[in-house]
């Protein structure tokens, strides 16, 4: 299939990292970075390709995390099917929210607002409902066996999240290559024109939102397995919604590698800030917010757009030199 080679190359390089890097701190950093990239890839499908900016992707992340955790703790379900059901539940929540909002014709800022509100409703419900452990949260029992989807070594966790990310990269590439992707981009560029040409905008957006929610929910399921703890602030708090949106915007919205690049840059800058100014609450997010504003001001197509734009200009310059 077209464009799969670069994905294989990037994934192969990333897969080799734990063979060289053995430090637990470094691996932990990479796991969190890939986790953020995965959540961001979910946002990217809907926001990057579809132009529907959600401010509430935590709704899907949190649903994935809670369902995975609750099924194991309260219903004795094995972690593997629990993980799969978590993804399905996230997709379902996405489909429901999508059906309601797109049916009502909400676009732009209205869509951003309503997704934010849905995530807040879920957060408040999760903070009081007995099934989620209310204010205390849900703790998954430590059981370091592959059968329980828990691993002694960070490297194995790293490979698990890498496989999930690889699947999300392939999904993004597949969308780019198919008719569905063309419809989605048409809706982003001009919804009314796309409809006039016979694109069923409602169906296309709903499909994108469901896929998008499933991917971000997968990040949530992984979070639950990795940290073995979920509470309402972690699951449905605004922080996850912000990170899911930040990574693709900074890396390059509507590109396959945008969320990965964005997550690497943002997380690395966060580490640098901590190193320079000491570990203090809020510091990471100050950096993220500044980078977000700077990227929109100076690199509206994200860092990938900046690089490919420069490459194209360079190539054009060379051609002109050759002709002149």
């Amino acid at each position: 299939m077209k464009g799969i080679a670069p994905i294989l190359l990037v994934v192969a390089v990333l897969a080799a990292v734990p063979l060289v890097v053995h430090s637990n701190t470094a691996l932990n950093f990479l796991v969190i970075t890939l986790l953020t990239a995965l959540a961001g890839q979910g946002w990217n499908i809907l926001g990057g390709y579809g132009g529907q900016y959600s401010f509430g992707h935590a709704a899907f992340f949190g649903t994935g995390a809670y369902v995975t955790a609750i099924l194991q703790v309260r219903y004795g379900v094995n972690a593997w099917p629990g993980f799969a059901i978590g993804i399905a539940a996230g997709a379902l929540v996405g489909a429901i929210i999508g059906a309601l909002t797109f049916r009502a014709g909400l676009r732009g800022s209205y869509f951003a607002l309503v997704t934010l509100a849905f995530a807040e409703v879920l957060r408040i419900l999760a903070s009081v409902a007995p099934v989620t452990g209310a204010g205390v949260g849900t703790l998954i029992k430590l059981d370091l066996h592959a059968s329980a989807l828990q691993f002694e070594s960070r490297a194995v966790f790293y490979w698990v999240i890498l496989v999930l990310l690889a699947v999300s990269l392939v999904i993004a590439r597949t969308i780019e290559n198919t008719r569905f992707g063309a419809w989605l981009i048409a809706v982003r560029e001009n919804e009314d024109a796309a409809r006039a040409l016979g694109v069923d905008a409602f169906k296309v957006k709903l499909g994108a939102m469901t896929i998008s929610a499933a991917i971000t929910a997968a990040a949530g399921c992984f979070y639950a397995q990795y940290f073995l703890f979920v509470d309402s602030g972690i699951a449905y708090g605004t922080r996850m919604s912000i990170e899911a949106l930040l990574t693709p915007i900074i890396g390059g919205a509507g590109t396959v590698f945008g969320p990965l690049v964005g997550a690497l840059v943002v997380k690395a800058l966060g580490e640098v800030a901590t190193y320079v100014a000491g570990d203090a609450p809020g510091l990471n997010l100050i950096v993220y917010g500044c980078v977000l504003v700077l990227v929109i001001a100076f690199a509206p197509r994200g860092l990938i757009g900046l690089v490919t734009g420069a490459g194209r200009r360079l190539a054009r310059g060379k051609r002109e030199v050759a002709h002149g």
Partner: protein, 290 residues
Amino acid sequence: MFSPVILIPAILNGLMTGAVYALVALGLTLIYGVLHIINFAHGALLTAAMFAAFFAFRLLGLDPYVAALLIAPLFFVLGYGLQRLVIGPASRGDDRNMLLVTLGTAIVIENVLLYAFRADTRTIDLPYAFQTIGVGFTFLAIPRVIGFAAVFVVALALWAVMNLTDTGKAIRAVAKEKLGAELSGIDVPHIYAMTFGLGTACVAIAACLLMPTFYVNPTVGEAFVLVAFTIVVLGGMGSVPGALIGGLIVGVVESLSGLFLGESLGQIGIFIVFIAVLLVRPTGLFGAKA
């Protein structure tokens, strides 16, 4: 629970809180009406103003109601600068960019406050904070009554600015027909920044009115911003009377749902109103047809 002895004070208190909500929403709706952006930094600016009021009291010994006279102009300048130097240039008029730039600004402001003051919750003690006045068979806290009255004074002042001054005329012209206003020599970036400044001044006054009875911490604005969005959506985006009436309605809804569902679920009532209005009638109760 349904007896009037409980219901009426709940409704009255809801109206008092609602008035301050309305003032927060007034700033938001003003900015939306002219710039057509949803200002996600609004809540963070409220938090910043509450911190300003807190330190004005702690360091200078200024009563929050007096400090408002100082903080409102200060935040007007801050809002003007923010729009003129950051939001305007960075977003270049694109809707999605504006959404993200105001979000980025909110993240920065909120976390600078968190970095500087940590997550501690702070309050100020005023001698009159717990004094009440009797209305019929119920009692109302004095700061809430002052807040309620002040909101209408501010709304009246805003009305005067919009209708009696040249700047107000220019703002209304830009809101109605941006290109036409530009062609008749109105400096649109300046008017945008003036509007943003006015909206920010509204939120600063709201902060000073809240401070005597409320607490401040770096995330306090988050709770208000969704409430303010709800009001703006309920009243119709860009509608000033809509924001006032919407604020009062939301205050009562919150107060009553808090009474029936308990404190932590009280806010759910607001969000459900919010989602329902957006889904059923996104132009709000008073908004024009989109």
